[in-house]
């Protein structure tokens, strides 16, 4: 087995033994290696939460920002340097709760980002409260009578908002998760991979066994460009479909349409202040 340049020497991980995050980290490193990317080309962006610590365990450029704001930061990074491969990673609370507004509007904006959501339907870092994807009736120390709100459906929400790559993976299947991640990273435009993942400490309902019983595999090579079919899949009750639900040619990416790149493709860090244009503007006021 060849060494993976994305492997990192690190101390003790802050994840619980048996956490699905290990498998997701493993899949991501394999996916990046498989795509022939170098750690210098990649920026891993995250917010706050257990999953959001992933950039500290993978060797690449990284930006571990604020809770809920990974997608905003990732959009800024991509806008400043479109040559970078920008991947945002975080949990369901981070991406769909605190960052819910950014989730909606980043999809609308369509930057070329890949978003990996480690969806374990519970809060880990704050010790076991409900998350936006917790099922109704889910009992926690905070929600003593069970969750009373409807769970957020990220796949359907992303689809109706115009995302052109939508997939669901399962942390228990590293091989397929790797393949899905690679397809998502290759996709031009916003791509979402919601990854079912057990929380062995705080979620005693949605366990490895539960996910196995309540999911079904989609044909890996299926043509996934039918919006209506994708919507049916996204809305389907258990067993939940795993695989690529939707993949279609997207509109122009956010970064491509920015004025900064109209006639200059260099990343923004290479630019110098445009004093000539400022001078010309002032001269124009004399006319």
């Amino acid at each position: 087995m060849t060494a993976n340049p994305f492997d990192m020497e690190h101390g003790e991980l802050s994840w619980c033994p048996g956490c699905g995050d290990y498998a997701i980290l493993d899949a991501l490193k394999k996916a990046l290696l498989g795509l022939g990317l170098s750690p210098q080309q990649v920026v891993l962006v995250s917010g706050i939460g257990q999953a959001a610590k992933m950039p500290h365990y993978l060797r690449s450029n990284f930006f571990n920002g604020l809770h809920g704001r990974a997608l905003s930061a990732a959009t800024g990074i991509k806008a400043a340097n479109p040559e970078l491969t920008v991947i945002a990673v975080g949990g369901d609370g981070d991406m769909y709760g605190e960052g819910g507004n950014h989730f909606t509007h980043t999809i609308r904006r369509n930057p070329d980002l890949t978003v990996l959501v480690c969806d374990n339907m519970v809060y880990g870092l704050t010790k076991g409260q409900a998350s936006p994807t917790s099922p109704r009736g889910f009992v926690t120390p905070m929600q003593r009578k069970g969750v009373r709100a409807e769970p957020f459906n990220p796949l359907a929400a992303a689809l109706v908002q115009g995302a052109t790559f939508i997939a669901r993976a399962f942390a228990g299947d590293v091989e397929r998760t790797t393949a899905i991640m690679q397809r998502a990273i290759r996709h031009r435009g916003f791509s979402l991979v919601d990854i079912f993942q057990p929380c062995v400490t705080f979620n005693k309902v949605n366990t490895y066994a539960w996910f196995k019983e309540n999911t079904r595999m989609l044909e890996p090579d299926r043509k996934a460009d039918d919006f209506r079919e994708a919507l049916d899949l996204a809305l389907s009750p258990a067993p939940y479909p795993l695989g690529v639900l939707y993949e279609a040619e997207g509109p122009e990416t956010f970064e491509k349409g920015l004025g900064a790149f109209t006639d200059d493709s260099r990343p923004l860090f290479m630019r110098e202040p445009d004093l000539g244009s400022v001078r010309a503007w002032f001269e124009g006021l004399l006319r």
């Binding site: 990284f62 930006f63 920002g65 604020l66 959009t75 800024g76 400043a80 920015l258 110098e272 445009d274």
Partner: protein, 577 residues
């Protein structure tokens, strides 16, 4: 106190009317004509928070010497819409000539001692094709009053409305009608205009908002994000409209946290980012400003103040967010805060904000307000060659560590994707490679490394500017947009023992401040808020108490006359602190 400054002559015109009557367009045109003719022009707008209707006004001062401050004096009031608001009505004096259509205004101005000059505006505009020409007729009156020759004016109209011959023709007719009225109004008094004006058409008109935006571009701004909020929207609008020309990546975002986090992300990847907002939006950005602090990400935040708390008064002015700018963002991190006192300063300090942010890798706040944003006057073309050249980002070596202290205590800044190294950034306390660290020693050394930058920023802080005699007894201390007003008030005061000390950088404060304050027998702090935020800052920093305070929090800017009157009351032993 209606006396004019000795040695200069200026006229103050106020045009008021409902939104949607084209006052803004006419104001622009009028000031352009006057400026191109070599006269000095100042215009300041105040408006209600609505799209149509209401009653807004613009003050236009025109003079033979520079005019760059808001005055209460109204030599002429040109109301277009009945229901002139109290802030204008209160300024009507015996010396104010009210030029209006008697049929429209009836007895609205009965009881004021101001002479009423009837103008048949309704009949004039009916002939021209409607009310939309009323403002242009009034512009003609004002121009006629100044004595700028009509052919010059007609030439400007053609230029201003170029490509729209029909519109230009009707506006020329409207302006000419008014012009003849204005010439009569002038009567025997000497015209302001004469053939050898000293600014000879080489001046440009610039408002605070465009000055901030252009300064940002000159400072290398390559990324801008914001959520529309008065009075800060104009900066984003300008950059967005000219994004291709200036090569700026501009985005209107879903909310303020998105704006600031996008900007910090862009900064991490090597852009020079700007976010622009007002108090409410700035409050929402607090966490992101703190993020820029710990990540040591260069970031410029334009905070344009309006009265709070909460939504407050959307279209009015105040200096009530100094504390917010000083203490925003949790935790401790270095920052610089600039508060431009003129349109030129708005340009240069906006550019400088990028330079300081970049070299010290920390957030810089540009503190302006509605008054400065919506005020313009004639200035020389700012000389961009005066700006410090921007630095370059070097490629990273293979063993690069983003937060290694470096020789000066400031880390060398690499960006992802450039060089052999890897670049990290973390919102947690972190080690030199930006990885999370809970080590106590790392925390202490990183915190000291960040905070240590403040001393260096202080070393190059802008000293306050002194206007008036160096051997003053009384010192009027102000910051930000009141600078030119306080400065002109000195001329009205006419005292040889009183000076103005104006601050355009409010954090960190320049060390010379202490000596300036100590030299005064009486320190009077003038500021646009109710609780004396700047006064408190001076006391907290230097242990020097102000002897007197002049504060204002009615949503309007200080005028030259109000400032002079209130200073005078203090100095003559009337109302005190």
């Amino acid at each position: 106190m209606n006396s004019q400054i000795s040695g200069t002559r200026d006229l103050s015109f106020v045009l008021s009317g409902a939104a949607g009557l084209g006052i803004q367009t006419v104001e622009e045109f009028l000031c352009r004509v006057l400026c191109r003719a070599g006269l000095h022009v100042f215009a300041s707008r105040e408006y209600m928070s609505r799209v149509r209707g209401g009653n807004n006004s613009t003050e236009i001062r025109v003079g033979t010497k520079a005019v760059r401050a808001f005055s209460d004096r109204m030599d002429y009031l040109f109301p277009l819409t009945p229901g002139v608001r109290v802030n204008i009505r209160r300024r009507i004096s015996q010396a104010t000539k009210i030029v209006a259509d008697r049929g429209v205004f009836g007895g609205e101005f009965d009881g004021t001692e101001a002479p009423f000059v009837p103008i048949p505006l309704e009949d004039m505009t009916k002939e021209l094709g409607g009310k939309v020409y009323a403002a242009m007729v009034m512009a003609g009156v004002m121009i006629g009053r100044t004595g700028v020759p009509l052919p010059r004016v007609l030439e400007e109209i053609e230029h201003f409305f170029s490509g729209r011959a029909e519109v230009a023709k009707t506006n020329a007719d409207a302006c000419s009608l008014g012009y003849r009225f204005g010439v009569e109004l002038r009567g025997d008094s000497e015209p302001l205009y004469h053939d050898a004006m000293d600014s000879d058409g080489k001046k440009i008109l610039l408002d605070g908002s465009d000055a901030v935006a252009l300064g940002a571009v000159a400072g290398g701004c390559s990324f801008a994000a914001g959520y529309p909020m008065s009075p800060a929207t104009g900066v984003l609008t300008f950059l967005s409209a000219n994004a291709d020309r200036f090569h700026v990546a501009v985005e209107q975002v879903e909310d303020e946290p998105a704006a600031v986090n996008m900007a910090v992300g862009a900064s991490y990847a090597g852009a020079r980012p700007l976010v622009t907002t007002s108090g409410g939006g700035f409050a929402l950005m607090g966490e992101g400003i703190s993020l820029a602090g710990i990540m040591e990400a260069p970031l410029v935040v334009h905070l344009s103040q309006r009265p709070g708390p909460a939504t407050g008064m959307a279209t009015r002015t105040e200096q009530g967010d100094l504390d917010l700018a000083l203490y925003s963002g949790h935790g401790e991190f270095p920052r610089a805060i600039f508060a431009p006192g003129s349109v030129e300063s708005a340009f240069f300090l906006s550019a400088k904000a990028f330079d300081i942010a970049e070299r010290y890798q920390t957030p810089v706040i540009l503190l302006t307000d509605q008054y400065l944003m919506n005020t313009f006057y004639d200035v020389d073309i700012p000389d961009v060659s005066l700006l410090r050249p921007a630095g370059k980002i070097d490629p990273t070596p293979a063993d690069y560590r983003r937060y290694a202290p470096g020789a000066t205590g400031i880390s060398s800044r690499g960006v992802p994707g450039y060089g052999e190294g890897l670049v990290g950034a973390d919102s947690h306390e972190h080690d030199e490679e930006a990885h999370i660290s809970e080590e106590i020693d790392v925390r202490v050394s990183m915190n000291e490394k960040r905070l240590g930058k403040l001393d260096a920023i202080r070393q190059e802080a802008l000293p306050p500017v002194l206007f008036g005699p160096k051997d003053y007894d009384n010192l009027i201390v102000c910051f930000g947009s009141t600078m030119e007003i306080a400065r002109e008030s000195l001329a009205l005061l006419g005292r040889t023992d009183t000076a103005v000390l104006a601050f355009e950088q409010v954090h960190p404060l320049h060390e010379a401040t202490e000596a300036f304050l100590s030299a005064a027998t009486r320190v009077i702090v003038l500021e646009g808020n109710a609780t004396g935020q700047f006064e408190r800052l001076l006391r907290g920093t230097f242990g020097i108490r102000a002897h007197h305070s002049i504060r204002k929090y009615d949503g309007l800017q200080f005028s030259v006359e109000e400032t002079a009157r209130r200073v005078s009351e203090i100095l003559e032993g009337g109302a005190g602190a």
